[in-house]
């Protein structure tokens, strides 16, 4: 999953506004950098589809 930089920036700006954050340009840039890192690391499983039966763990009980 290679999300273009502009897509990440646009998503962060829109999602932050939706959630009521009032971030200045520097804060938005810093948050975008962190979000890009989450997306990059998440790619390790987000491109690895599990079967529909794979149930999420609302409270994880080993």
């Amino acid at each position: 999953m290679d999300i273009p930089r502009e897509t990440l920036a646009a998503y962060v700006q829109a999602a932050a506004a939706l959630q009521g954050y009032e971030l200045d340009a520097a804060q938005t840039a810093a948050v975008t950098l962190q979000f890009a890192r989450i997306a990059q690391i998440g790619a390790a499983f987000l491109q690895d589809p599990l079967p529909p039966q794979a149930e999420p763990l609302p409270v994880f009980r080993p």
Binding site: Q19, V31, Q34, R37, I41, A44, D48, L57, F60, P62
Partner: protein, 478 residues
């Protein structure tokens, strides 16, 4: 006076020392030495005097003493202490005011006779692996004060490593017990998810948060863990299963089947970390390597879940009080609160898949070994680690090898390993430990501790309290 918890309790039981004397010595030690390490955020001397006096009164009355009678300890700044405000390493939570009751773990320690000396430094809100706290200052590694102690329970690990207290409590969401235990050279236990109650512990990411413990030797760690066990209906994640004491069984001979985790756990370990695993493996008779193919996905799932749960927890406060949050983590928290729901749900499904996959390894092995950190402690302020030619941010990278394990809730004991023949990495460099993770199947903390004890018995693992390092502090961080 001994630095070992059980020896202190025995001395008090026998009358060699009173609990009040032990407290006075511990207080003098902390007031003298902690200026160099910055482990403690606050002291609880008044409460400690009351707890020590209560133990001395019990003994004077000829009553039986509890297992940790008079043993000094301290807790990470996210455990509630009745009458004190829980800071979680910052000031954002101050509006909550003083806690009305002790956290469950602190109440267990009081019932066991232990004496609480104060609260310990941490990464704010437990979001970090370095304990470089912008408000309270960094906790310094007792083996080289220019280096980090690891985090987020850095004060807890460093306080034991420096010989300030024999026991401490911490928490572990992605490695916050195991990383500082590794870098400071102490024993740390992250039990199975749900084993210990988190009641009264300030949360970070609910579906990953564990209570954990630190000690200077395995017998002390097992005794500490045993007094913390037991069901607690007030914590929704706490398993409703009875305590399964471990300390008594440690003396029994046990032949462990030990495997070495390769793949991800080798790729992200530098030469010193791989050497630590080799030393531990040799001592435990482990020769076979196994790969857990799902480790990378588990680490990624833990990263996404942590970001989302932590971000959601603090989103409201971030909107109004952004400036009060730790500069090193507030942007990560905001970013986490923006993670799409589909990613989180998929991450939680991935956790189950990874869990089922790793369980198959325990058909062949009782214990799996892996490094606890990719490298030994870096310098305070180090932004990037170089692991086998790949550069990774220090604050995230220190958890590369612990996150997959806590993602699936397995119990782990971290045991300190020192370089072979006490040879530092380079001439003139300090001698630094690296911890190994001793990982077992769910609810088998006894096996983790048995493996750690075998490392201790063989001489591979031991606490080494450093000499007072005033001379090495010249010119270092203020």
């Amino acid at each position: 006076m001994s630095a070992r918890a059980l020896a202190i309790a025995a001395q008090i039981r026998s009358g060699t020392h009173s609990a009040t004397e032990v407290l006075a010595q511990a207080r003098a030690r902390i007031e003298s030495a902690d200026r160099q390490f910055n482990c403690f955020l606050a002291h609880t001397w008044e409460r400690a005097q009351g707890e020590a006096a209560a133990i001395d009164a019990l003994r004077a009355a000829g009553r039986p003493l509890p297992p940790l009678a008079g043993v000094p300890y301290a807790v990470k700044d996210l455990f509630d202490i009745a009458g004190r405000t829980t800071g979680a390493g910052g000031v954002v939570q101050a509006y909550r005011g003083p806690a009305v009751a002790d956290a469950a773990a602190v109440a267990c320690m009081r019932a066991a006779g232990a004496v609480l000396l104060g609260t310990l430094n941490m990464d704010e809100h437990a979001y970090g692996f370095t304990t470089e706290n912008s408000r309270h200052g960094a906790t310094r590694n007792p083996h080289d004060p220019g280096r980090i102690a690891g985090g987020s329970s850095g004060g807890s690990a460093a306080a034991v490593a420096a010989g300030l207290v024999p026991l401490t409590l911490g928490s572990d969401t992605n490695g916050s017990v195991r990383v500082p235990a590794s870098l400071c050279g102490v024993f740390g236990l992250k039990p199975t998810y749900g084993r210990l109650s988190r009641r009264g512990v300030f949360p970070f990411a609910h579906s990953l948060d564990h209570v954990g413990a630190f000690a200077g030797n395995v017998a002390d760690l097992a005794a500490l863990y045993d007094v913390l066990q037991g069901p607690d209906a007030a914590d929704p994640a706490c398993a409703q299963r009875p305590a399964e004491p471990t300390a008594g069984a440690l003396a029994l001979p046990r032949r462990l089947r030990v495997g070495i985790l390769g793949g991800w756990f080798t790729r992200w370990a530098d030469g010193a970390a791989r050497a630590a695993v080799q030393r531990a493996a040799a001592a435990l008779g482990a020769t076979r390597s196994v790969e857990w193919a799902g480790a990378e996905a588990a680490r990624a799932a833990a990263f996404v879940v942590t970001a989302a749960e932590g971000g959601a927890l603090h989103a409201a406060a971030l909107r109004g009080q952004y400036a009060l949050f730790e500069p090193l983590s507030r942007d990560r928290l905001v970013a986490g609160s923006l993670v799409p729901a589909a990613w989180v749900v998929q991450a939680q499904a991935q956790r189950r898949a990874a869990y089922e996959q790793v369980l198959t390894l325990f058909a062949q092995f009782d214990v799996l070994i892996a490094p606890a950190t990719p490298a030994a402690a870096p310098a305070i302020g180090c932004e990037e680690l170089d692991i086998n030619g790949q550069r990774v941010p220090t604050r995230a990278g220190m958890g590369l090898l612990t996150q997959p394990i806590s993602c699936v809730g397995l119990p782990v004991c971290t045991a300190p390993v020192w370089p072979a023949d006490d040879r530092p990495a380079a001439p003139g460099a300090p001698l630094l430990p690296i911890g190994v993770q001793l990982i077992a199947a769910p609810w088998r903390e006894d096996l983790c501790l048995a493996a750690a004890q075998e490392l201790e018995r063989s001489g591979v693992s031991a606490l080494r309290v450093p000499q007072r390092p005033e001379s090495r502090l010249q010119g270092r961080h203020p």
